[in-house]
Symmetry: C2
Subunit: 235 residues, 2 copies
């Protein structure tokens, strides 16, 4: 029996596919949004990476209308994004800024738009922040500005008259490093015990979707992992 409905933006990524599987295991209907089909999801809305911001938004909104019609969802979980380094003198500086913006901020504003229309009263929406972007990030400027924009968007969505349904909770998660296969491959010498586990985050999202122990709306939830244990610190 289906206990609820959620949308996972970025459902094909390392964290996203983990979250999709976890919600399926717990009997949710799962709609995914990504650049290609997410097999485990009940429905995937596919956006083209070559489409611009407005076109991606239109694709998502039309796809949601077809998938859920007049109904509402319990949560919209955005875990889309990527990473690129580079300071202001880097030859690919602007290209990296564009990439980070389109991967993280486009999906987050589209999530906000979707939440305004399709989230239940008292529903849950989460956006992909990053702990380092609370300060300057000179070695990864494009990444930092995109994540800072998401942090501020989260705070806007949490306030009165943001357009979200009443009683909704909007938060951003701010991990430092996620324990993904790609990160293990590219940072093989790192101390993995300080990386945050995907299972841990998936379980948190389920708990918060159910309304248990939710952080205050507008929270930036820092995830500090040590000895494979993650502590949540609300910013």
């Amino acid at each position: 029996m289906v206990v609820g409905k959620v949308i996972i933006y970025g459902g094909r990524g390392a964290l996203g596919s983990n979250v999709v599987n976890y919600f399926k295991l717990h009997n949710y209907w799962v709609g995914a949004i990504d650049l290609a089909e997410v097999d485990q999801a009940d429905k995937t809305i596919i956006v083209s990476k070559d489409a611009d911001w407005s076109t991606q938004a239109a694709t998502v909104m039309t796809g949601l209308e077809e998938a859920i019609g007049e109904e509402k969802v319990d949560a919209i979980i955005n875990v889309a994004g990527g990473w690129a380094g580079g300071n202001a003198a880097h030859k690919d500086f602007l290209k990296n800024c564009e990439l980070m913006w389109s991967q993280s901020v486009w999906s987050s504003t589209i999530t906000a738009q979707a939440a305004a229309k399709y989230l239940k009263e008292g529903g849950f929406v989460t956006l992909p922040g990053a702990e380092p972007a609370l300060r300057g990030t000179p070695g990864m400027i494009g990444y930092g500005i995109a994540k800072a924009a998401i942090h501020q968007l989260t705070k806007s969505l949490a306030e009165e008259n943001s357009g979200l349904p009443s009683g909704a909770t909007a938060i951003a998660i701010l991990p430092i490093t996620l324990d993904t296969p790609m990160n293990r491959k590219w940072m093989a010498g790192a101390d993995f015990s300080t990386w945050t586990s995907l299972d841990f985050i998936a379980a948190l999202f389920l708990k918060w979707t159910k309304g248990n122990d939710r952080p205050k709306t507008g929270s930036l939830v820092k995830m500090i992992t040590k000895d494979n244990k993650t502590e949540l610190i609300m910013e």
Copy 2:
């Protein structure tokens, strides 16, 4: 006699043209960047508003190379930007996010790139922040995320290895409302004595360009105006 060289990004706007005139009056060579010719400037680099981020950047970098060649400038002052309101449920939400992004953040990242190449050691660069974006801005979400990105960019540029020349100062100014003709027209009933004067900001920029009383690099300089007097508060 020319005492120095500065670049004003957004030199045609209300604040920008005031700043251009002020630096000309004080015997600076002034290069302007805007969507159309800035008559008072020594040289204007014209970017097309229909061009994308990378194309605008390329136009600016080529224009600067032609205008100043192997030389360096004392300051790069970005006062480009605009304003649009709207929450996440607004019909033009995405369009407004795009507009705010392209007006404010494109110009600011291009300013950063230009500063990495053309700013003198110990030079001065300033970006256009906004005081309200230090918190959530539910009624003007696109504006808020763009300005939050600029604040974080300022902090990145202020750190070691940001790509800026050594000893450079990067700050953002965070006014609440500027005393411009357009604002007087559209908010005719407001108390103008709480708005920040353009002359005041132009004089500050000159002082900071000369290296006098500069805020610490990375400062977000809040401008709080009361009874026509502006207090600076460093965030």
